[in-house]
């Protein structure tokens, strides 16, 4: 569809799983609001819907009840899903909103089911990319993948996120517990993300071990996030125990927004050694919360940070430990990182990103 064909009545979104606790779920809800504000009808259709959002979305197979002539579909591509085949069959003009996915190789040796799922996701990307009238990538890194998959027209626009959730009122019980730990001395190092091999939490544990040995024997590491890889979680827990770090590494699992705010408020530094990031929302959350960020420059991390974090070329424990020590003890550096981080988070959090996304869609489907 193009501008000459007229303005579509509805721009609906499709997604594999609509979850209130992940970046894609939040992005989808914010984009729906922006699409509606632009005057379109816009609903969300998903293969699976979290109970908390049951009133905000429909199952994808209910789409025909809402379909009208000239509809446009925006597919939030995160993983393999029945939605991909469903959209390919229906032939609705398609905008591919690509959030990237972890390559199958990252799960090899850990989760055979995840390897298969990631392989299918790659096949589905190859199926949909050539059919899409527009591919929206969250980073130049992801845009290259979209183009390789056959997407002819692409644009790079950031993830829409409510970074205010990390500066809202923190959970008082969690905050009190973190304060108690903080009073014992030592730095509090934070990472937020699913516990899976590609996020490399084991590298964070190695870095903590080196940091405690070389600089700060009381330092703690908080690994916030649920897991989709129980094999990896078990290996991580056993590794932590073997290193004698059971007291120093906390694994609170998936937490509420208020508890997440408490973790950001208590953190001295946010550290990411992920092997793959399509964007990295938690990096920006940390910046919004005024926490200095250190990250390995894998995937789109350097792009997302855009100079507002210490980007490490290597994840060697001694190298990371030296960076942690510098950030935790150099007031001028903390002030610099916090200032540029806050500015970067403000830049990404502004309504500008939402309006630019809507404009990009309008340009190809008709205003």
């Amino acid at each position: 569809m193009n501008a000459a064909a007229g303005r579509p009545v509805a721009v609906h979104q499709f997604i594999a799983t609509l979850n209130p606790h992940d970046a894609t779920g939040a992005h989808t809800l914010l984009l729906r609001d922006a699409l509606r504000a632009a005057g379109w009808r816009s609903e969300i259709f998903a293969e699976a819907i979290h109970d908390d959002l049951a009133s905000l979305a429909y199952k994808h197979w209910m789409y025909p009840e809402h379909a009208t002539e000239g509809d446009v579909a925006v597919y939030q591509f995160t993983t393999s899903s029945a939605v991909a085949g469903y959209l390919a069959e229906r032939g609705v003009p398609l905008v591919l909103d690509f959030h990237n996915f972890t390559a199958p190789g990252s799960f090899e040796g850990w989760e055979p089911a995840s390897v298969e799922r990631a392989t299918k996701a790659a096949e589905e990307l190859a199926l949909l990319a050539p059919r899409a009238v527009l591919g929206l990538a969250k980073s130049r890194f992801s845009e290259e993948e979209l183009r390789r998959a056959g997407c002819r027209r692409t644009a790079v626009l950031p993830v829409l996120a409510d970074y205010g959730r990390v500066t809202a009122a923190p959970d008082t019980r969690v905050a009190a517990e973190l304060d108690r730990l903080g009073a014992e001395g030592g730095a509090d190092i934070l990472f937020v993300g699913r516990i899976v091999p590609s996020k490399a939490q084991h590298e964070l544990v190695k870095a903590l071990w080196a940091y405690r040995r070389l600089y700060d024997p009381l330092a703690r590491l908080h690994l916030v996030g649920g897991t989709a890889s129980f094999e990896y979680l078990k290996a991580l827990e056993d590794f932590v125990a073997d290193l004698g770090l059971a007291e120093a590494v906390r694994l609170p699992g998936e937490v509420s927004d208020a508890a997440l705010a408490a973790h950001y408020a208590a953190a001295d530094v946010f550290l990411s050694l992920s092997e793959h990031e399509g964007f990295g929302v938690p990096l920006v959350e940390a910046m919004a919360a005024g926490v200095p960020v250190i990250a390995r420059g894998a995937g789109a991390v350097a792009e997302t940070a855009a100079g507002a974090a210490l980007i490490l070329a290597a994840g060697d424990p001694s190298y990371v430990a030296a960076a942690l020590q510098r950030v935790c003890t150099d007031d001028a550096l903390r002030a610099a990182l916090t200032a540029v981080g806050t500015a970067r988070a403000t830049e990404l959090a502004s309504g500008l990103a939402a309006s630019r996304t809507v404009e990009a869609i309008a340009e190809v489907v008709g205003r």
Partner: protein
């Protein structure tokens, strides 16, 4: 830790850049002082690997099957220990009442698991047979082929190689490092380098001190390196005898392990040197033959490198220096 009176530098971005250089220097000094010996970092890697599943450790099917066999038996007699006084008594009573039902279910599950295990053992047998047949037609991997007069600290190509990796965005790996002659040169020039070599007698004979040399093969080592974990890779005595498939696998592995903006240096002898009468016998035994420098440049440019070749005096050998593409800045970069 508290953020008290924070002093804001005049140009925050410039200060961050300066700090990155100081951190790299701090690491170099720590490493050279032996505060955190490379051996300890390697032991950390090995410790984590020991907890990963058998497949993740590169273990064979036999190991996995032993784990399956061990897990096949499901014990229907649940433990009854309890921290509360009456807990154990209550649990024991419940166990007695439900044992018949639990036993029946676990029996079915054990039988099912045994059937799967038996099938897997048959698959294992057939795979072993297949491997034996494939072995006959196997193309052997290339070994290290060194031409003593063209390698070593005094070789002409060492100077350009050291210069090429001087600003690498991460650690520098020298494959087939021998006694560490090139690693020493790079470290002396201020770089952060380490070496690997599968020839145990060479590595073990070196007084390591703060030198980071490891007794390891290149393919095996690259599998364990994280994506974008290396700033530069120097290959010498490694690629000449490789068959095309092995060479493609090596380049693919290096491509993912090299950080954006990283450098690959390839030193190779010419075909004339390879076929000369005084070439080492390993040259005859290798499955492949050296490429010409033009072929290396083409190959690397196709993989997204910018490559330049330099040929040594008399054309006996050459070195190719290739820099990997960087990813440019994203949407709305801040102007400094």
């Amino acid at each position: 830790m508290e953020d008290s009176e924070l002093t804001m530098p005049e140009d925050p971005q410039a200060y961050v850049d300066q700090v990155m250089a100081e951190i790299a220097e701090e690491v170099r000094l720590r490493r050279s002082s032996g505060d955190l010996p490379p051996k300890l970092e390697r032991e950390l890697d090995e410790l984590f690997l020991a907890h990963s599943p058998v497949a993740g450790r590169g273990g064979d099917l036999g190991d996995a099957l032993r784990m399956v066999d061990a897990a096949t038996f499901i014990d229907p007699v649940v433990p009854v220990e309890s921290e509360k006084a009456a807990g154990a008594f209550v649990k024991k009573g419940m166990r007695s009442m439900m044992l018949w039902y639990v036993g029946w279910v676990t029996h079915q599950m054990s039988q099912s698991a045994s059937a799967v295990s038996r099938a897997l053992h048959i698959v294992d047998q057939r795979l072993l047979e297949l491997e034996r047949q494939v072995e006959v037609q196997r193309v052997p991997g290339a070994g290290i082929v060194e031409f003593p007069e063209l390698d070593g600290a005094d070789a002409w190509w060492v100077e350009p190689a050291v210069a090429a990796v001087a600003k690498a965005p991460g650690r520098v790996l020298h494959a087939a490092c021998g006694d560490g002659w090139l690693v020493r040169r790079i470290v002396a020039a201020g770089g952060d380098a380490y070496g690997i070599d599968p020839r145990a007698h060479l590595v073990q004979a070196v007084e390591l001190g703060t030198l980071d040399l490891r007794e390891e093969g290149l393919a095996e080592h690259l599998r364990a390196v994280a994506a974008a974990g290396l700033g530069a890779v120097v290959l010498s005595g490694v690629v000449e005898g490789m068959a095309s498939g092995e060479r493609a696998q090596l380049l693919s592995a290096i491509e993912t392990r090299l950080a954006p903006g990283g450098t690959l240096v390839v030193h190779s002898v010419s075909r004339d040197s390879w076929e000369s009468a005084d070439a080492p016998p390993e040259a005859d035994l290798a499955p492949g033959r050296p490429l010409r420098p033009e072929a290396w440049c083409r190959l690397l440019e196709q993989s997204g490198y910018e490559a330049v070749a330099q040929v040594g005096r008399g054309g006996a050998d050459y070195v190719v220096t290739a820099v990997r593409d960087t990813i440019t800045a994203p949407y709305a970069p801040r102007q400094r």
